[in-house]
């Protein structure tokens, strides 16, 4: 029995997934029963009353009230039961408990970006601790997408200009597949993500240290990811053009002049200071508008962005 369930529905990632599967398998067996009944009656009547002689008259059986009531009322009762069962599970699963971790999700052609309560941002990889409810708050930057985690039996459309949420409590550690299930164009079928369900310790460690693959990546590439994903790109250009903040092009080693008249030659420490405490010194000609990124960059990421700026000559 369980192997049939597993073959049909794949792995389960939460207790709720099992609830859905129980109803699903109930419907499978109910359908098997009624389909067998239809096949049996069809084949039996068709064969038993097959034509043996041409031109015979047949009895006039117009209707039979008892029989008709039977096959109206029995299906009605069954489907009403299924309605309450399905709806009850759905409502229970859509209410997030108060202690749920809130993670923001943004869908755009064709990637999933995640933002954690501590400001950590990732793309394509969602990490959550096991056995704790998770509430995803999702929106889209362009067209409709749909965040679908088959092993949690959960999905929701992701709508531009609106926030929707999706709740699940993962119980099975390891990697789970995430798909985009609402057609969104050319790379719709590649718009996938990984859901990693970690032990609480591993989750905390991951929040501090980041993805293991970041640690094997050359610092310049890490820095480029940081530049694109952490929002540097909205104020700092890389082609020398003026924006809200100074361009990163040719920044390293340049002599910067501040509003108070002092100067500095841009080096590693100046960049780190500007990220962690941007209001300390303001470059002449710019407004003091940059928010602090204190604690939002891990050490490899800080090294990465410095290496990246160094590269932009």
């Amino acid at each position: 029995m369980d192997s049939i369930r597993h073959w049909m529905l794949g792995p389960q990632g939460s207790a709720y997934a099992n609830d859905v599967d129980v109803l699903y398998m109930f419907l499978v067996w109910l359908s098997v029963f009624f389909f067998a009944l239809i096949v049996f009656l069809t084949v039996y009547f068709a064969w038993k009353y097959r034509r043996r002689k041409e031109g015979v008259l047949t009895p006039n059986i117009g209707h039979n009230l008892a029989l008709e009531l039977l096959w109206s009322i029995v299906p009605l009762i069954i489907v009403m039961g299924i309605f309450f069962w399905g709806f009850n599970d759905y409502v229970r699963a859509s209410v997030a408990p108060n202690d749920a971790i809130e993670i923001h999700v943004t869908g755009k052609k064709w990637l999933w970006a995640f933002e954690y309560p501590d400001g950590t941002r990732t793309i394509g990889n969602l990490h959550v601790p096991v056995n704790r409810p998770v509430k995803l708050i999702l929106t889209s930057e362009d067209v409709l997408h749909d965040f679908y985690i088959p092993s949690m039996r959960q999905k929701t459309d992701v709508i531009p200009g609106r926030f929707v949420d999706l709740t699940f409590t993962p119980t099975v550690p390891g990697r789970h597949q995430v798909f985009c299930a609402e057609y969104c164009g050319k790379s719709h079928s590649d718009m996938m993500a990984n859901l990693f369900v970690d032990s609480p310790e591993a989750y905390e460690k991951w929040l501090v240290e980041g993805d293991p693959e970041l640690q094997t990546m050359p610092p310049v590439e890490v820095g480029k990811l940081v530049y694109e994903n952490k929002g540097c790109n909205s104020c700092h250009s890389i082609d020398g053009s003026k924006n809200t903040g100074p361009s990163f092009k040719g920044l390293y080693g340049r002599l910067e002049k501040f509003t108070d008249g002092s100067t500095v030659t841009v080096d590693d420490n100046y960049i780190a200071e500007s990220i962690n405490n941007p209001q300390a010194r303001i470059v002449a000609g710019y407004e003091p508008v940059m928010p602090t990124f204190q604690g939002l960059l891990r050490i490899p990421e800080m090294r990465g962005i410095i290496a990246y700026i160094k590269e932009l000559k």
Binding site: F45, Y49, N60, G86
Partner: protein, 548 residues
């Protein structure tokens, strides 16, 4: 209904109208200017069969592409256009007009004992509108194509490249053809029944077409409005649906499904209507539960207007809305169950013959059984959340649209083919083709239920390796299905090259269309038929009606 009470033949009436309709007038012009419902039905038939072929070619391309993950025969952009065209052609240009505009156009007036439909010129006009819509659709295909899916969801459809506005306009135009056909049939059924034919003396086919026509008339205008808004959004940026312009993309889904869910019943009710004819005829048996079948058609038509939200359980609509739509949706299960059991029990103590039309009807019972039962999965909200937009949905609606409607259409085509063309087809070849279609169909779509429940989303060009085996089974199934259709095309075309050999009533049916020659004369009947019994009075000898 076999009891035609003859009125005195008006002497001197034996003019060219005694010629069968196929030979009453020669040349293309006589067809393009005809107002004969039978000729218009035949013109529709060839038009929709061509579209079915086109949509079928796209379907085979989809299955071939999915033989392997990543690229097999085409790029992702091409694939997205191909599945869009497959859906749009099959829905708007084939299935919706298939039974009503082609088959019913031909047989409905004959069944009612009428000379023609109520508005013959309007009937011809609606064919021209259909052709105009078809040409616009073809223009959209060759001028950039469309990659939105047949559902045209916003804001993708308002922002993507290609001929979306033109394709949408084609669907808009085709809608008017559908509305006019519906109006025509409603008027015909109300006003042109033969003397003595009460509402409950009509063949059930007419009830099914009546219910369909009501939906066509009432729901299609909503589609027209929706598509017009979409065209204006794309062309002028009026900001109804695009959130960047202050619109609401989910509003489009409400509008779209407000038409397109009833449209599902525009597609299935005529299929059910055909089955209600084939089973009594080939069982030579009174249909069981005439009124239950008639009223359940009308009930399905009415309920179909208030269940559209079950397409949107994951769209972010409120939980209350989902609850109400799920609740009402389950009521569709009851009339469907009633019909199924009525058809099966009709065979009880009958005299069942297994000609090709009956084999299609028996296939229908099994395939509609699967299509209906898997609908229950999708009506249950918690299960639907998992299955929505996966291959489970693809499999489900193919069991209903193809396994039920198209199979019933093929049954009807084989059933009325001798009446339409005056020729019998090769029965053995027809049985082989029916078996191949049945096997091929199940091999194609049964694996897709499992693909979907395991989480494979629909409209995927690329897929994970773990899904490949079931995709390959499905693709091989599509080849068996294609072979069945090739054989069918072969023997049907071959039959047209023969001399006319069909008797007036090869299946010994009691309904009126069989009481005139095959093919019928232009005015259908020599005398106005007068009806003195029910359409399925197989319990008494021919000609001994209640008035006899």
């Amino acid at each position: 209904m076999a009891d035609i009470i003859t009125t005195p033949h008006i002497s001197g009436h034996a003019d060219h109208h005694d010629v069968d309709y196929l030979h009453d007038g020669k040349g293309l012009k006589s067809w393009l200017t005809t107002v004969d419902h039978k000729r218009i039905g035949i013109m529709y038939l060839w038009s929709i069969l061509f579209m079915f072929f086109l949509g079928g070619v796209f379907a085979m391309m989809i299955r071939l592409e999915l033989l392997t993950p990543k690229q097999t025969i085409m790029s992702a952009e091409t694939y997205n256009k191909v599945f869009t065209l497959h859906g749009a052609i099959m829905v708007f240009l084939f299935i919706i007009p298939s039974v009503p505009a082609a088959l019913a156009n031909f047989v409905l007036p004959l069944m009612l004992g009428a000379k023609d439909v109520a508005f013959p010129k309007l009937n011809l006009f609606s064919w021209y509108i259909y052709m105009a819509g078809a040409l616009i659709a073809v223009a959209a295909m060759v001028t950039g194509g469309v990659d939105t899916g047949w559902t045209f969801y916003t804001p993708y459809s308002t922002t993507t490249d290609g001929s979306v506005a033109l394709m949408t306009f084609a669907a808009f135009v085709l809608g008017f053809s559908s509305i006019l056909t519906g109006v025509n049939f409603v008027a015909t059924i109300h006003k042109l029944r033969a003397p003595g034919m009460g509402w409950f003396d009509m063949p059930l086919f007419c009830w099914g077409i009546y219910a369909t026509a009501l939906i066509q008339v009432l729901a299609t205008p909503v589609l027209a409005i929706t598509l017009l808004l979409l065209i204006m959004e794309r062309t002028f940026g009026i900001g109804i649906f695009d959130p960047k312009l202050g619109g609401d993309p989910v509003l489009f889904q409400h509008f779209f499904w407000f038409y397109s869910h009833p449209a599902v019943y525009i597609m299935i009710l005529p299929g059910m209507a055909i089955i209600s004819e084939i089973i009594p005829t080939f069982s030579q048996k009174t249909i069981f539960g005439y009124r239950a079948i008639a009223f359940s058609s009308v009930a399905i038509a009415l309920v179909s207007f208030i269940v559209w939200g079950h397409h949107m359980f994951t769209s972010g609509q409120s939980q209350l809305a989902s609850a109400i739509f799920s609740f009402i949706t389950f009521f569709v299960a009851v009339p469907s169950a009633i019909k199924t059991f009525n058809w099966i029990v009709t065979m009880y103590k009958g005299s069942v013959a297994f000609n090709a039309p009956m084999l299609y009807a028996l296939s229908f019972l099994l395939l509609f059984g699967i299509g209906g039962l898997t609908g229950i999965f999708l009506g249950a909200v918690s299960v639907d959340i998992h299955l929505h937009d996966t291959y489970f949905v693809v499999a489900h609606f193919h069991y209903v649209m193809m396994g039920s409607t198209v199979i019933a259409f093929l049954g009807g085509l084989h059933y009325w083919w001798p009446k339409m063309f005056g020729r019998m087809y090769n029965e053995s070849a027809a049985k082989v083709a029916c078996a191949l279609v049945f096997i091929g169909f199940n091999a194609t779509f049964l694996p897709q239920f499992v693909l979907g429940s395991r989480g494979m989303p629909r409209r995927y060009y690329n897929y994970l390796p773990e899904f490949q085996f079931l995709h390959q089974v499905s693709t091989v199934g599509s080849w068996i299905l294609g072979l069945g259709f090739l054989i069918m095309a072969g023997y049907l075309f071959a039959s047209l090259r023969k001399k006319m050999d069909a008797p007036a009533n090869p299946w010994h049916s009691r309904t009126l269309e069989w009481q005139t020659a095959s093919p019928p004369i232009t005015h259908n009947f020599h005398e106005v038929p007068s009806v003195g019994g029910g359409p399925y009075d197989y319990y008494r000898p021919v000609g001994q009606g209640r008035n006899a």
